[in-house]
Symmetry: C2
DNA sequence: GCGAATGTAGAATGATTATTCTACATCGTC
DNA sequence: GACGATGTAGAATAATCATTCTACATTCGC
């Protein structure tokens, strides 16, 4: 991935996260990407491709944020993951999961749905592996997804309750 | 609410649930509502109002689906609520929560955000009350929201895990 | 049975949009 | 220093869309 591709993808990601997927026009996305219309269409030949590029970038950043430098004691991992997700919510995702937002905006786009499932499956699999509880992907996903959706409503109190639930695993 | 208002709101709700909030044009919504353009604009004077009407209708239907005829033994209520949510996912909400979808499509619409918070708060409050565990709204919301988001990925297995988590409350 | 209210059908309007195209600038390489 | 690749700036195109407006039908209380 070249420098300009990275610049485009990260600009698009930030803009879609701020303004949603339905509203922004392509000229608006061009400004967010910081390139010309011609260059934007060269690397992302349609508005849909701009969405895909933003999500792929998001996916890489999210994995990095969640799984880099986790504690080595496995029983501390679930609580650490919950803190990471909460930190992500505070700083990056005040409106909830970007993948769900994209699918919600275009529920008939099969490629979007595939990106969502892939993203969630990878997060769940890595989380279960690093916590040393393979086979409990569903519970981990349930708690992390619940946290992501509930945090905007109840704020920091949600983090404590999520950890208590995770402690029962 | 007159018969025609009910007809419009329920048609809009079904259509937005199927096709998302970004895509459908107003003529498409008119067909879904089963009235003329003039009548549609009379009761919902802008496309945004059509969204609000659909969500208010959804809210009423969801409360009915979740809380009607629950078991009277309070310790059976959390599992029963989980079954209700799962049933709703199977039949009505294959793409996830309609309120989150609406907010995702237009994250700057303050009225949408207010509708979402109101909806979730009412569900949480009633759930905690009927389960006889006031003060545990956050945990219940976390599990029910987690279920809603996770069910499309892991299917029926999610229901079992959600009940196990709820049993620890 | 008449008139006011309320409905249907769909054309006109005015804006907005995604995408393509034209003209020009910059830069590293031979 | 010329050239091919790659960039910027923004106008042109063609389609779509939300909203309003016109003309006509139906219903119902009186």
């Amino acid at each position: 991935m070249s420098e300009i591709q990275e610049k485009i993808a990260s600009g698009l990601e930030r803009h879609f996260a701020e303004r949603g997927f339905a509203e922004p026009s392509v000229p608006e996305l061009r400004d967010a990407a910081g390139v010309s219309l011609r260059t934007l269409y060269k690397y992302t030949p349609s508005r849909s491709e701009m969405v895909y590029a933003a999500l792929e970038h998001r996916h890489r950043r999210y994995l990095e944020e969640l799984f880099a430098d986790l504690p080595t004691e496995q029983q501390k991992v679930p609580a650490a993951l919950i803190d990471r997700v909460a930190g992500w919510m505070r700083t990056q995702a005040s409106h909830g999961c970007l993948f769900h937002a994209a699918v919600a905006a275009a529920p008939e786009d099969a490629r979007l749905m595939a990106l969502l499932k892939d993203h969630k499956a990878q997060v769940a699999e890595r989380a279960a592996a690093v916590a040393g509880i393979p086979g409990r992907e569903i519970e981990l996903t349930l708690i992390l997804e619940g946290l992501t959706q509930t945090f905007p409503l109840y704020g920091e109190a949600t983090v404590i309750r999520a950890k208590q639930l995770a402690a029962t695993l």
